[in-house]
């Protein structure tokens, strides 16, 4: 069921929509549902319980470890001899994604859902009754993380940029998957976070792709 409806309210909505679905005045879209009157819109009783959608919860629970790995990777820039523009990008990723982790944790907590730690690097989920630790899309494997941690200078720049471009693309994919799920992002904060991740990370992919052109050995 959707985010804010109690069952009886939902039935009332459905009935109202079905009864009036073919009325005129459908705001210009033929066959579109009638625009509800202001009286009808106000009659809806306020919801009493905040039931988060499964897709929204899963999105945040998966995105927290995804972000946590990005924070860890980006945190290496200064100690691993990253060049200046890569270092600036990394600093921004650390600050940006840490803040987003805090916001996602707040939202999960306030909905009474399991809150992953801000250093967790696997998404723990139940599949067929078994708990499994998963890497979210675009995340680096343990071996790739070791390789990145051992790299210095332009080797680090190259591995970092290649890894983070894919990591970001994975986040963008997670947003797309959320929007393709049932009951997706009807919550304002979830939608905002999803669209911010989409916008920010798409922008950074473009920026990193350009940086990569000038890293020795990346061409």
């Amino acid at each position: 069921m959707n985010r804010v409806c109690g069952r009886s309210r939902a039935v009332a909505w459905l009935a109202a929509t079905l009864l009036t679905g073919c009325a005129a005045g459908s705001a210009g879209t033929p066959g579109a549902p009638r625009v509800l009157s202001q009286a009808e819109l106000r009659k809806a009783p306020p919801p009493t319980a905040k039931k988060a959608s499964t897709a929204d919860v899963a999105f945040f629970q998966g995105m927290i470890p995804h972000h946590a790995q990005a924070v860890k990777m980006a945190g290496w820039a200064a100690s691993h001899g990253a060049r200046n523009d890569v270092r600036i990008l990394c600093e921004r990723i650390v600050v940006g994604q840490r803040d987003e982790i805090a916001l996602m944790q707040y939202w999960l907590r306030s909905h009474g859902e399991t809150v992953p730690s801000d250093t967790a690097m696997r998404h723990r989920m139940k599949m067929n009754g078994m708990e499994m630790d998963m890497l979210m899309p675009g995340m680096l494997s343990d071996e790739q993380m070791v390789a990145l941690d051992q790299a210095r200078g332009s080797d680090f720049d190259r591995l970092f940029l290649i890894g983070m471009i894919g990591h970001h693309q994975g986040a963008v994919n997670m947003v797309n998957e959320l929007l393709a799920s049932h009951d997706p992002a009807n919550d304002d904060l979830v939608y905002k976070m999803a669209s911010d991740v989409y916008a920010d990370q798409t922008t950074e992919i473009e920026r990193m792709t350009k940086m990569l052109q000038t890293v020795p050995g990346a061409r």
Binding site: N2, T17, L103, M132, K192, D196, T203
Partner: protein, 636 residues
């Protein structure tokens, strides 16, 4: 501009600031209240120190008894202000309590305030006492609003927007009940607007911009910007998340232009999709692609090795084909300035300068990039169209980016001059007071304040408050007034309050407070803005205002305008102080005179000023004064 000494002008000048003095306000009160307590009066050219915005007492929030999914303030945060005053606050109407307020549009003496669940109309005939005039429930974020004649346009981007206006969201990922695009209302009767049309677009409308075409009086145009992904073709035919060079219908690298026939707005439709982002520094496909491929292979190996089930690497999502990373595929916001034929497009990692002489087909002139700018958010032109300011909404407005640990250059404004169709970087500006981690804070929406002869802008910084900034000297922007509240609370991790936008409209500044409703501010005369300058600002009148459609400010020829310029010459020391004193009395004398005597006095004065201009260190201002006086003479 130099601010070097106190002005000795015949006005009562007060520099007032107050801190922690909001004990008298309550969330349910609709009474006019002042933010200013027993502050100290001063004429200081330096900002108050320590900054009273730092360490403001936070508010306390609790569950809203009428709807426990929402939280409301039970103890308001403390407030601080300098050179401006909060003259009214109106908490939201019942349906909008606890739901994000967004952008503002203005018409006559009404303010239309967007909200993720609809919009409210405030009657501000008396700005000190706004009255709720109408409320319209119709969910869809961001609900950015614009007005044009009898029409209201409202942006819908989120997946939860419904054609029937319901607030319950849309459960299906693909649904014919969903509205993403523009809603159009006939507000001939603002008390009872009619939802007459909508135009669905592929990525919805995060923001939009109303554009008048001087050569086409029968239609009005709306540029659609969206920062979200492209929806599937199964929901809206023709939506293809591909580059146009792969599929001619491809939605990437374009904006959408909607044509609204004024006689038949119900026939509004997308008329063009100009590719203003095409071929914009797109990284070479092959290299990007191979980097991506190697990553995908690695991710697939990792997925096999680590038991991960997620899809790795690049994919279009939602079943689309994979795509290579490339330049920005969309814009966040576009500000048009038809008077100079330009628009500023804030698009991903770029700040574009656009030629809009062909309204349906804007063309890119230049694209500025800047390593300190993460996400170009919106643009504001100087009144003469020779400068442009872009804001960077790093983190999307949900994050606290004004902590003492956050860089000045990040989440700030970048200021450019426009030279030969190019943007030339000059400086950054950021609201300077450190905020807490509980306050979402980053550069957001603002407008010019019509102080004649200067570039002054009021701007919203979410929970960082509002900041008035002088960017006349574009290399040294300077804060000259502010208002701020403490955190909404210390639980919610921010993002539930603060000023979304603040705009000057006909003498007052209206702020859309995300959680607290509508705020109205007035500027106070100060060492930085004299009473004459304020009075001259109030002579600029608009019948309506959408800030993304910038209108040229024109100051009617008045004696107060002349006096404002005299004050500015005093501030810049453009003339000797003895001469300024005699000037003031000569202007007074001319105004007291009648008929031909007045005309003669003004004509003589103007001629005298023309002679003095060359020797002045502020010759341009002397000439502006002279020409105003000449125009005054011509009016006699």
């Amino acid at each position: 501009m130099k601010h070097t000494r106190l002005l000795s002008l015949p006005v009562a000048v007060a520099v007032i600031y107050s801190a922690a003095c909001a004990m008298n306000s309550s969330t349910s009160s609709t009474s006019t209240r002042s933010s200013v307590g027993a502050g100290e009066l001063s004429m200081s050219m330096t900002p108050p120190s320590p900054d009273p915005r730092v360490g403001l007492r936070p508010g306390v929030m609790a569950k809203y008894p009428k709807d426990t999914t929402k939280r409301i303030t039970i103890t308001p945060a403390a407030e601080a202000s300098w050179n401006m005053r909060l003259i009214a606050n109106r908490p939201p109407a019942e349906p909008f309590v606890g739901v994000t307020h967004s952008d503002l549009g203005f018409k006559d003496h009404y303010v239309i305030q967007g909200n993720y669940d609809g919009y409210q109309v405030w009657d501000v005939a008396n700005p000190r006492s706004p009255k709720l005039y109408d409320e319209y429930v119709c969910r869809g974020s961001q609900s950015d609003v614009s007005v044009y004649k009898n029409l209201i346009f409202v942006s819908g981007e989120a997946t939860s927007g419904r054609l029937d206006c319901g607030t319950q969201g849309v459960a299906d990922s693909v649904s014919q009940a969903r509205l993403r695009g523009i809603r159009i209302f006939d507000a001939t009767n603002l008390k009872n607007p009619k939802y007459i049309a909508n135009v669905q677009t592929c990525r919805g409308s995060h923001t939009h911009t109303v554009v008048e075409d001087p050569n086409d009086k029968e239609n009005i145009y709306v540029y659609i910007s969206g920062s979200s992904g492209v929806r599937p073709e199964s929901e809206l035919p023709g939506c293809v998340d591909l580059s146009p060079d792969v599929d001619p219908r491809g939605e990437q690298f374009r904006i959408e232009v909607i044509q609204i026939p004024l006689a038949h707005p119900e026939l509004s439709h997308v008329i063009s999709k100009p590719g203003i982002l095409q071929a914009l520094g797109v990284a070479p496909r092959s290299n990007a692609r191979s980097a991506q491929d190697s990553l995908e292979r690695a991710a697939q190996q990792a997925a096999r090795g680590g038991g991960a089930g997620g899809r790795g690497g690049a994919g279009g999502g939602r079943g689309g084909p994979p795509r290579a990373p490339s330049g920005p595929v969309q814009c966040h916001d576009i500000t048009v300035y038809p008077a100079v034929g330009l628009a500023g497009g804030a698009c991903g990692g770029y700040g574009l300068l656009l030629d809009i002489s062909d309204v349906k087909n804007p063309k890119r002139l230049f694209a500025a990039a800047d390593s300190n700018m993460q996400f170009w958010h919106s643009a504001t032109f100087s009144n003469d169209g020779k400068k442009i300011l872009f804001s960077d909404e790093w983190g999307g407005g949900s994050a606290p980016r004004c902590r003492s640990t956050d860089k000045y250059e990040w989440g700030s404004d970048a200021l450019f001059t426009i030279e030969d169709g190019k943007e030339v970087f000059k400086s950054y500006y950021k609201m300077p007071a450190a905020q807490t981690r509980f306050e979402n804070c980053v550069a957001h929406n603002g407008s010019l304040v019509p102080i004649p002869g200067r570039d002054v802008m009021i701007q919203a910084w979410y929970q960082g408050g509002v900041s008035l900034m002088d960017w006349t000297d574009i290399s040294h922007p300077k804060e000259i007034a502010f208002f701020d509240r403490g955190p909404m609370d210390t639980v919610s991790a921010g993002a539930n309050g603060g000023s979304w936008s603040i705009y000057w409209y006909n003498g007052f500044m209206y702020s859309s407070e995300i959680g607290r409703g509508l705020d109205v501010f007035e500027l106070l005369p100060s060492a930085f803005i004299t009473q004459h300058e304020l009075d001259a600002a109030k002579t600029v009148h608009f019948d309506y205002l959408n800030v993304q459609g910038q209108q040229k400010m024109v100051w009617p020829t008045t004696f107060v305008l002349a006096r404002a310029y005299v004050d500015q010459l005093q501030r810049s020391k453009g003339l000797a102080s003895a001469r300024l004193a005699s000037l003031a009395s000569e202007i007074d004398a001319a105004e007291s005179a009648k008929g031909s005597a007045r005309k003669t006095a003004l004509t003589v004065l103007s001629a005298k000023l023309d002679g003095e201009a060359a020797a002045s260190s502020d010759a341009a201002k002397v000439r502006m004064l002279s020409s105003t006086i000449k125009e005054l003479a011509g009016m006699q």
